[in-house]
């Protein structure tokens, strides 16, 4: 039989049956009977009925895609039931849509997915717009919290794209501190390899130290200037920064010195980053001059914030404990973590080196 015959015959058979229902089977095996007009509003179901003649009885129930679970199916059918009636005015449809879309984001996502698999474009648009409205105007942490997104980008990866600003200077400062701490962890890893510890009297200024840590080989751009620019906004936070600067200073006394190769690699990365097209100082977007010392004008998770707070306390505690104990801790601490070094590939992409490869 040709498809046209099928299209002509099937509705007749359906109407001959009890209530012209169509049987739909969801992925969990349960079968629902739905009025024909309502179900045919979905293009995918319509296609199945007309092209393949399915759905007329429980034996040949239309099996719906996996993304459609029974709860979503009932929502979708409610939508179809309302909209397939031709008599409603545009105003009525709009107000129905507005009420319909009020649900939590979890269900919105599921509904979008289900509607997409049934090719029900008006509903996909409706739910997509609702999700877009949720995303709009929120900071990345808020969005991550709402949708439970994992924060799995490293600081370097977050450097690259242009970002929105939450102008909280404390967040920026914490990011900077975090970046510094990661470098300290790398330094401690170096420490593990060096047996001899020298305690050097180090009376360089804090700023010099910081710039040295961050691999400044005469290419420092923004550290001091950026700090002076934002002096007014950071008065409160100077206290925090000085206390952690102390700890950094003290740790530097224990160190042998930094690997200059590593520094230059980092500088290379930064100069690439600064010449990157994305590097723009813009009052619309975060100031990028502060890329240099690994400053990331980035938002920071509350979780990360806590992590940093803990580390700060940790450092403070270690300072106050005995020297040999501290040595032991540092040595053992260096074993636990494998810091990863980043460097540049020829095509400008970041490449991860493990410690052994690193030269």
């Amino acid at each position: 039989m040709s498809e046209v015959d099928m299209a002509v015959i099937k509705p007749e058979i359906c109407s001959q049956m009890m209530n012209s229902y169509i049987c739909l089977q969801t992925a969990d095996g349960s079968i629902q009977q739905v009025e024909q007009e309502v179900a045919m509003f979905c293009p995918m179901i319509c296609h199945e009925v007309i092209q393949k003649g399915m759905g007329s009885s429980k034996n040949c129930a239309i099996s719906l895609p996996q993304r459609v679970n029974p709860a979503m199916l009932s929502l979708i059918l409610d939508y179809c039931r309302f909209h397939q009636v031709p008599g409603h005015s545009n105003k009525e449809r709009k107000s129905f849509d507005e009420k319909f879309i009020r649900m939590d984001t979890k269900r919105l996502c599921e509904l979008t997915s289900a509607a997409d698999s049934l090719q029900l474009k008006p509903l996909v648009d409706l739910t997509s717009r609702a999700l877009a409205r949720i995303i709009e105007g929120k900071s990345p942490e808020e969005i991550r919290e709402i949708f439970h997104l994992p924060d799995d980008l490293t600081e370097e990866e977050k450097l690259e794209p242009l970002k929105n600003t939450t102008d909280d200077p404390r967040i920026r400062l914490l990011n900077r501190l975090y970046a510094k701490k990661r470098k300290e962890l790398k330094e401690r890893q170096k420490l593990k390899n060096d047996e001899v510890e020298e305690e050097r009297a180090d009376d360089r200024s804090v700023d010099d130290l910081l710039s040295f840590i961050n691999g400044d080989n005469g290419d420092s751009k923004g550290n001091k200037t950026s700090k002076s620019k934002k002096k007014n906004r950071k008065r409160k936070d100077q206290q925090k920064s000085t206390s952690t600067n102390e700890t950094i200073k003290n740790h530097n006394k224990e160190l042998n010195g930094l690997n200059s190769v590593r520094c230059s690699a980092e500088v290379g990365q930064k100069s690439w980053a600064t010449s990157n097209l994305l590097d723009v100082e813009d009052d619309i977007f975060a100031s990028k001059n502060e890329l240099d010392d690994g400053d990331i004008d980035d938002e920071i998770d509350p979780a990360l914030k806590e992590k940093i707070d803990r580390e700060v306390e940790d450092f403070a505690r270690r300072l106050n404990s005995d020297w040999p104990e501290r040595m032991q801790e540092i040595l053992s601490f260096g074993h636990e973590r494998e810091p990863v070094h980043f460097s540049l590939n020829g095509n400008g992409s970041l490449r991860r080196y493990t410690n052994s490869e690193y030269r």
């Binding site: 996909v124 995303i135 709009e136 991550r144 997104l149 994992p150 242009l162 929105n164």
Partner: protein, 430 residues
């Protein structure tokens, strides 16, 4: 037991709380890329870009959204370095967006000091087969106007073109816009009259035209002849005393004519079928505008007119009788007193139609009257309509907010006293 329902409720709420905690995983990232891009396409591009730092999954997605919607900030109006930065930013976005075909490119910005940037953007958009282009430019002292590159007028895939403010339309001799369906030219400048006529001549599938014309824009649009046009909205703000407009649009369904301060409107409908198919006509003008319709054949016009809006001053009320007589199927009538004329209370002589119009007897279901004032001619109108409309379901009357309450009540009483031709008629008074 009395306790068990409460216990049940507690348990179920606890259960839902714990299930919320358990099921805290990332649903939105499980959506396929196409859907996430669809969601991001409803956001301005800046917002879409911020999603790239959410997580690894989201990092590259914004670059595949085929819509670029950018707007600069207010402070760009006065700061040229900010404008420059915005210009660089737009260039970067265009480079990073990796879609070979753009659906929409919308820009609203203050003119950057390097117009070559802007031309590059348009060339890029056109080369990416852009379908919709929406440009609003605010001119600056050094660069008061944007001149569009000619490449725009040979864009084969362009379906929607919207230009606003300080853009100059200079159409070259060769125009080829085979897909253009929607054209909005709002407060723009024209190089010469030929630019307009060239564009109109070439658009073979144009369905929607919106024109806002003002004084000093270097053109006098008087002849619009577009056979495929369905929607037309023209607004004059020229302050000229007389407008002459010749419309040839046989399948026009929606017409909106607005005029500020015009005194005389000379509308010629050329072609035998003009406005026959019009479903909605809306006229806005003020003061003593008088409209003469040429080539007017009442028995042909407005058979399909379902909605009519008259937003008029003093000279326009005589249109009401005309409309009622010639629109046989009118369902919705909106009457409004033009904002510029309200509160002045001037009278006008309104004559009701000779014979009760057909539409009042059989089709008019709803009337909205905005800006109602307690003046004799308006009361007469309302009385006439209420008395003769036999299928009227609702009449909504809105008065100005600043009328004192007692006078409102007076008016309401008068209105309620009018005899009604339709039994189902409800009178709403705001």
């Amino acid at each position: 037991m009395a306790n068990s329902p409460c216990q049940e409720i507690d348990v179920s709420s606890k259960r839902s709380k714990s299930s919320d905690k358990e099921v805290c995983f990332d649903r939105i990232s499980r959506l396929p890329d196409v859907l996430i891009q669809h969601i991001l396409s409803f956001l301005p591009t800046k917002e879409a870009m911020t999603t790239s730092i959410l997580s690894k999954r989201w990092l590259p997605i914004w670059t595949s959204v085929p819509i670029i919607d950018l707007q600069d900030s207010r402070s760009c109006r006065t700061d040229s370095s900010l404008r420059l930065r915005f210009g660089q930013f737009v260039t970067r976005v265009l480079i990073l967006n990796k879609m070979a075909c753009l659906d929409k490119f919308r820009l609203e910005f203050n003119m950057v000091d390097h117009p070559s940037y802007v031309k590059t953007w348009f060339r890029d958009a056109v080369s990416r087969d852009v379908k919709e282009l929406d440009i609003t430019v605010h001119g600056t002292q050094s660069f008061p106007i944007l001149k569009l590159p000619f490449v725009l007028f040979t864009a084969k895939t362009l379906q929607v073109l919207k230009l606003s403010n300080e853009v100059e339309l200079h159409v070259p001799g060769t125009v080829s816009l085979p897909c253009l369906k929607v054209l909005h030219l709002v407060w723009i400048k024209y190089r010469n009259d030929e630019s307009v006529s060239r564009i109109f001549a070439d658009c073979h599938v144009l369905q929607e035209l919106v024109l806002h014309i003002y004084v000093g824009d270097n053109t006098t649009i008087s002849n619009i002849s577009i056979p495929t046009l369905k929607i037309m909205s023209i607004r004059f703000a020229t302050g000229q005393h007389k407008h002459q407009l010749k419309i040839n649009a046989p399948i026009l369904e929606y017409l909106n004519l607005e005029d500020n301060l015009g005194l005389e409107f000379d509308l010629e409908l050329s072609g035998s079928k003009s406005l026959c198919n019009a479903k909605s006509v809306s006229l806005h003008w003020d003061w003593h505008s008088k409209m003469t319709w040429r080539n007017f054949r009442p028995h042909r016009l407005f058979h399909k007119l379902v909605r009519s809006e008259l937003n008029v001053g003093y000279g326009g009320w005589n249109m009401l009788s005309l409309f009622l007589e010639i629109s046989y199927n009118l369902q919705l009538l909106v009457l409004a007193k033009n904002d510029n004329c309200r509160g002045l209370g001037l009278e006008c002589r309104w004559k009701p139609p000779k014979y009760v119009p057909e539409c009042l007897l059989s089709s008019l279901e709803r009337v909205d009257f905005k800006g109602f004032e307690d003046v004799a001619y308006q009361l007469r109108m309302v009385k006439y309509i209420l008395g003769n409309a036999q299928v009227l379901k609702m009449m909504d009357i809105f008065t100005d907010g600043d009328l004192p309450l007692e006078s409102k009540l007076d008016v309401l009483k008068k209105l309620l006293m009018f005899p009604r031709g339709s039994k189902e008629c409800q009178l709403h008074f705001n």
